[in-house]
Symmetry: C2
Subunit: 100 residues, 2 copies
C-alpha cells in the first residue's frame, strides 16, 4: 500500500474517531448534568456524596456490557472509577454550597 493510500485510510479512521469523540463528549456532558442534579438531591436529603453499594452494582453491570460489546472489562472498571471520582468531586462541592 502506498504512503498516500495509508494517509487516506488513516484519515478515514480518524474521521470516525472524531465523530465518536464528539458523541462521547455530548454524552458525558449529559451524564454530568444528571449527576449534578443527583448531587443537589443528595444535599437536600443529607445523603453522602458517594454510594459504594450503587457503585458496585454499576460496575458489575458495566463489566457485563463491556464483555458483550468487546470492550476490555478492566478498562471499563478504570473508566467508571475515573468518571465517578469526578462525580464525587462535584457532589462534595455541591454539598459545600457551590453552584454547579
Amino acid at each position: 500500500m502506498s504512503a498516500d493510500q495509508h494517509d487516506a485510510q488513516l484519515a478515514a479512521y480518524r474521521s470516525s474517531i472524531d465523530n465518536i469523540d464528539a458523541a462521547l463528549v455530548h454524552l458525558l456532558a449529559e451524564r454530568f448534568k444528571i449527576t449534578k442534579a443527583v448531587g443537589r438531591y443528595k444535599k437536600d436529603a443529607a445523603l453522602a456524596p458517594a454510594d459504594p453499594g450503587r457503585e458496585a452494582l454499576q460496575l458489575a453491570r458495566l463489566r457485563a456490557l463491556a464483555e458483550e460489546s468487546g470492550l476490555d472489562p478492566a478498562f471499563t472498571e478504570k473508566f467508571l472509577k475515573f468518571v465517578v471520582a469526578e462525580v464525587i468531586n462535584h457532589h462534595q462541592r455541591i454539598a459545600e454550597g457551590e453552584q454547579l
Copy 2:
C-alpha cells in the same frame, strides 16, 4: 419531599445514568475497534504508536465541543488523555506482534 419521593427521583436519575453508561460503553468499544485497526496500520507503515500533533488537534477540538455542550474542558482533557493512554498501550502491544 418525602423519603419515598426522593427514592423515586433518585431511581429515575439513576436509570438515565445507566442508559447513558450503556451508550458510553458501546461507543468506547467501537472507538477501540477503530484505534486497534489504526494500530495495525501503524505497525504495517512503521509509524510511531503515539502522534503528539494529532493529539494536540484532538484536544483543541474536544475542548471546544466541551465548552459548547457544558462539559468542563479540564475534565475533557483528562478524559482524552485517559483514553489515549489506553490506545497507545494497545498500539505498543500491536507493534510488538500481539493480536488485539
